[in-house]
């Protein structure tokens, strides 16, 4: 009993450090902004930071806790972004800002969760890396569907086409919601740093509590040994689906934040394609698989890096990739890990180096 109790308090302490880190950063940044010490570049990056932190934490739930590889989290972001942007645009005048954004968040989360659930039903029954393959395809399909989607609303109701804008036969007063490749234009700018940080905290609260809940333990047991988990009566597909759906819906929330930060939203390979999914995976891998706090730091650092390097113009992408490789070696190479542990022992002789463990 005693051992158990001390263990619980240790994880609680660990979680509190994570929350504290986010809140402290928020306070410091707000102080700096109000005293005018933050450049416009960084101020403009604050919301993207929040977006990528949320989606990295969400993906860490799939990759680190569930132990499945998802290469389609940008796709879930895309679903959340477009669903909420369409809603916000349609009700731009009808609803007050804060309430509308709250509803947009719910819609984005729900739509991404629904899609994640549908993708998960067939795939999560299988053993092996099928989730990676299917989500990879899903991300590309979603992008292409949205690029071919035309949606408008006028006095006759909602018009919908997969061909072109002309076949919508809209009235003159109609409002185009999605214009195919031109995407959604005129989304209200509801995202700000405060909302972003609140969403990060909510995300952390959901993910951390999920991990330590009965369901979370069941999910981790599936990750560690599927046969053993099945033998004690855990419904493998059900728990996998729960974790994956939560992860997808949080990615949808990140999408909502993304969509309401810019006034234009397009599904390009750049922002919602395969590369973005890999980028999110890089956040997770560099931060440490299963390490939530690491994901937060990695997402912020890797979003910041190319922007800080702007002064180097042509060389920045080169340096960015070198830094990525060096960080990967530093984080994961057995030699580097050993070196870090030794360094830690030297600097902090009191602490044991086993904290690194996932």
């Amino acid at each position: 009993m005693k051992v158990n109790k001390s263990k619980v308090s240790k994880t609680t302490k660990n979680d509190l450090i994570t929350y504290g880190m986010v809140i402290l950063t928020y306070i410091v940044v707000q102080l700096l902004v109000s005293t005018g010490h933050v450049s416009s570049l960084i101020q403009g990056l604050l919301v993207p930071f929040c977006t990528y932190v949320i989606v990295a934490v969400a993906l860490n739930l799939t990759v680190g806790i569930l132990g499945e590889l998802s290469l389609g989290h940008a796709g879930f972001m895309c679903v959340g972004a477009f669903a909420s942007a369409v809603f916000s645009l349609a009700f731009k005048e009808a609803l007050p800002g804060g309430f509308r954004f709250f509803l947009a968040l719910l819609i984005g989360a729900a739509s991404a969760a629904l899609v994640g659930f549908l993708v998960g039903i067939p795939v999560l029954r299988l053993r092996g890396d099928y989730l990676a393959i299917v989500t990879l395809a899903f991300g590309e399909i979603i992008k292409n569907i949205i690029n071919a989607l035309y949606l408008g609303v006028d006095s006759n109701g909602v018009h919908f086409s997969m061909k072109d804008a002309l076949s919508l036969h809209m009235e003159e007063d109609g409002l185009m919601l999605i214009k195919g490749a031109q995407g959604v234009t005129g989304t209200p700018n509801d995202s700000d740093f405060t909302v972003g940080v609140i969403l990060i905290l909510v995300t952390l609260f959901i993910v951390l509590n999920f991990i330590h809940s009965r369901t979370g333990r069941a999910v981790m047991s599936i990750r560690d040994n599927r046969i053993a988990a099945e033998s004690v009566g855990i419904n493998v597909t059900k728990y996998k689906l729960i974790a994956f759906t939560v992860s997808a819906s949080l990615a949808g929330v990140a999408g909502v934040l993304y969509a309401h930060n810019l006034s234009t939203l397009n599904a390009l390979p750049k922002n919602f394609g395969y590369n973005m999914s890999i980028m999110i995976l890089v956040f997770v891998v560099l931060g440490g698989i299963g390490n939530i706090r690491g994901s937060i730091v990695a997402a912020v650092l890797l979003t910041l890096l190319p922007e800080v390097l702007r002064g180097l113009s042509d060389y920045r992408m080169l340096i960015y990739s070198i830094v990525l490789i060096v960080m990967m070696i530093f984080n994961w190479s057995p030699n580097a890990v050993f070196f870090r542990k030794r360094l830690q022992q030297k600097l902090l002789p009191g602490r044991k180096a086993e904290k690194e463990a996932v």
């Binding site: 005293t35 570049l41 403009g44 180097l312 050993f338």
Partner: protein, 430 residues
Amino acid sequence: MKKRMLSLVLAGVMTAALLTGCGGSAGADAGSTDGAAQESADAAGETADETGAADETAGEDAAAEDGAADAAGDSAGGTFKIGGIGPLTGSNAVYGIAAMNGSQIAVDEINAAGGINGMTVELNFQDDETDSEKSVNAYNALKDWGVQVIDGCVTSACSIAVSAKTAEDNIFQLTPSGSAVDCVANPNSFRVCFSDPNQGAASAQYIGEHGLATKVAVIYDSSDVYSSGIYEKFAAEAESQSFEIVAAGAFTADNKTDFSVQLQQAKDAGADMIFLPIYYNEAALILKQAADMSFDVKFFGCDGLDGILGVKNFDASLTEGVMLLTPFAADATDDLTVKFVTTYQEKFNETPNQFAADGYDAIYTIKAAAEQAGITADMSNEEICTAMQTAMTQITVDGLTGEGITWDASGEPTKEPKAVVIKDGVYTAM
């Protein structure tokens, strides 16, 4: 030992990166070496910061310049900071780099001729990777630099995203080539190029009025804003013209190497002309594949086709007879174009395309408007924006992309589209 080296390298790279990043922005920000002055200027509020920075640079630049600019000091000289935004990396880098080079040539020429109202023009061109989020980042970086006027963005979606921010901050924006309708939706944003609908309608009218075809097939990129924008308007305008659209084949950015299906569709429909509202790389493939299936048909394109003669590993004789509607032809013989093309070739070793011309014209348009409005270096961005907005509707610019270009308050330029046909490997006016 090895590990120690590794960590040293890591630490070195990170520090270097940070230092260079900060150094770059600080240096550009105020031109001063001490951060303290900059910080106090920052604290004094944004507007104060801008003017303060401008004043500081004004003083220092006047001192640093070789004395060509008049030595009157702050009021007469100073610098005029133009910020450019466009894709310098990624798949659209060709357009961004061309616009940047074109703008740079214009800036150099203006500075050699004494600048704008005595101010030296400085151009800072930032990369946006064709990503609207990165584009806004680039814009914010330019704001830190103390930008006074934005020359961008090169692509439509980025331009829309940035124009929402410039409207908030009251910074004048002129996009050289952002052609989507919404790019100039805000009162502070203007453009140099034709809008997409404008090009689509003009193409349809041109084909109709000159009786170039009776059955037209269209092959367009449905995942591209530019292409689908032109197609929509073209199709709408075609209804009132003397030809009909018999086939419309779409492709997407993920699938743009094989066009045999779209071509076969056009062939089966009996098309005698194919309209290509797309960029030249895909168009080159289409021409090649049409020739391979011995499909003899006329081609008509928009300004995106400009550059097709320069495609590598492409038999340029296939372009014989291709018609295109473009505001700029590098082979034109008027003095301005000849001078521009020669300078561009000397400096960058390639033939300029229409984006370069747009970039060049954008800078001269900014110059014309700034002179009309009487902009001085000590004006705040709000004042510049308001004055430029009015001045834009009063000026007439003779540029590379058209003669006597005028603007109305909506931000749209008024100029004549020029149609050219490729004959013996060169553009010939039709």
